[in-house]
Amino acid sequence: MPATTQPTPSTASFDVEAFRAEFPALSQDVYEDTPLAYLDNAATSQKPTPVIERLNRFYGEENSNVHRGVHRLSQDATEAYEGARTSLARLLNAPHKDQIIFTRGTTEGLNLIASTFGEMVVGEGDEILLTEMEHHSNIVPWQMLAEQVGASIEVLPVTDRGALRMDLLPEMLTADTALLAFTHVSNTLGTVNPAQDLIDVAHAEGVPVVVDGAQSAPHMPVDVQALDADFFVFSGHKMFGPTGIGVCYGKREHLEAMPPYQGGGDMIDQVSFEETTYDGLPHKFEAGTPNIADAIGLGEAAEYVMALEWEAVQAHEDAVLEYATERVEAVEGTRIIGTASDKTSVLSFVFDDIHPYDAGTVLDREGVAVRTGHHCTQPLLKRYNLPGTIRASLAAYNTREDVDCLIDGLHKVRQMFG
């Protein structure tokens, strides 16, 4: 560890070392004598012991199918699964737990909305408004919908620093705008978008709003009622939960009016060959045996997150991000991509003369896990005329020591390629 390192300060309500100790994957060597510095949290977070143990307990003691069996285990599994839905409703402050639809993740949530609600409200000649910083998951489903119904995609641009051009929003919301979908936090730039303003301005024009919360749910408390979002989707695995499970929250009037997304078991009321009637919320949108174990694991992650002192956690994350920003800027030949005034958890940067892939390969060998490339935001990278960036992304368990490992690695990168 370099002599410049100050110990990461712990506040009274957030002890980072104790928190970090709950994530077993963080304390390992990835190569011989090379401890892991995990800075790829925007891709996925590590999992704390309570979540791992909850999955273990489900499979070891409770495993059974839900909603059907009269037997004891099935009742236990159903109770745990529906209990997880209640935890998720509390996490988002949803008015009712039946407005929480379990999905495979953010991507499936957005596809669900596009192919049900989207088909209801977007018609020929309409416009779907997106932003220039969207993840492909919040572009492609809308393009598919637009192609199908004869609508077009409009794009709210970003500034050089990576903030949305909010000044252009009123003129881009036209009489033809049928829907606005935007990311709450940019996975590539770390920009925190002014969600409340975006929603309020769109609603004033009668435009419903879909919020991609994949990068915000892990880093801030979310209140879907205060935001008045029509839909809010996120993934469990970026928020200390299991992979393959996520949430689609929707306003009740939308969810009730929407047709089912997929047909099958568990989503029906009565089936005959002549006619099928559907079950109510939320089961209408959960065809087939759901991802029971991971939903329960996500419920545990939600409880875990709700027990955090957010103010202290955010102060810690912001301090580490600021430290990382200063230290990366001081490495010769680097340039930070994304310098908006409101940022969280993500530090993207490039070397003038070193390809991100080369840098990432050497960082990996030094135990530093970052992501390199376009981060599934090719239009945004094109806007900045870059082939990709090196992205270090933080979670609450990251410390200044992790940043120091990154900086040591970057000096090695310079030594090898500079």
Binding site: H355, T361, D364, G373, P387
Partner: protein, 145 residues
Amino acid sequence: MSDTNTVSDRAQQIVDEFSLFDDWMNRYQYLIELGDDIPLLEEDQKSDDNYVHGCQSDVWIHSELNENDEVLHFRGDSNAKITKGLAALIIRVLDEQPPEAVADADFGFLDDIGLHDHLSSQRNNGLKAMIEAVQERAKAEPQET
């Protein structure tokens, strides 16, 4: 062609060279040096046909059949140095080999140079894509029967 110039002989030569280095950093540095010596393609050869898809960096590999001695000549380039080094390894074992030797070449030697554990875990490095691209093109050339 002499026996000491087969794909497997050249592969063994590369394995021997890499075995001289005892840490990963020196091995990577050697890989980068090999990339610096790659027979570069002309700018106009950086075409869609020569572009190798599936890499995080831009990679081009050009192959051309020499009608006289019926062997393939390769050139390559990449904007990432490690990828360029990998392209250089592939070219070094395949250059001036007949198409059927290229199509049948075994790249198992990459496991033995002390980098593959790391390289094989990343789909974005394009190693697999490069090998597939050159072998597919070799198969499309007229084969000796």
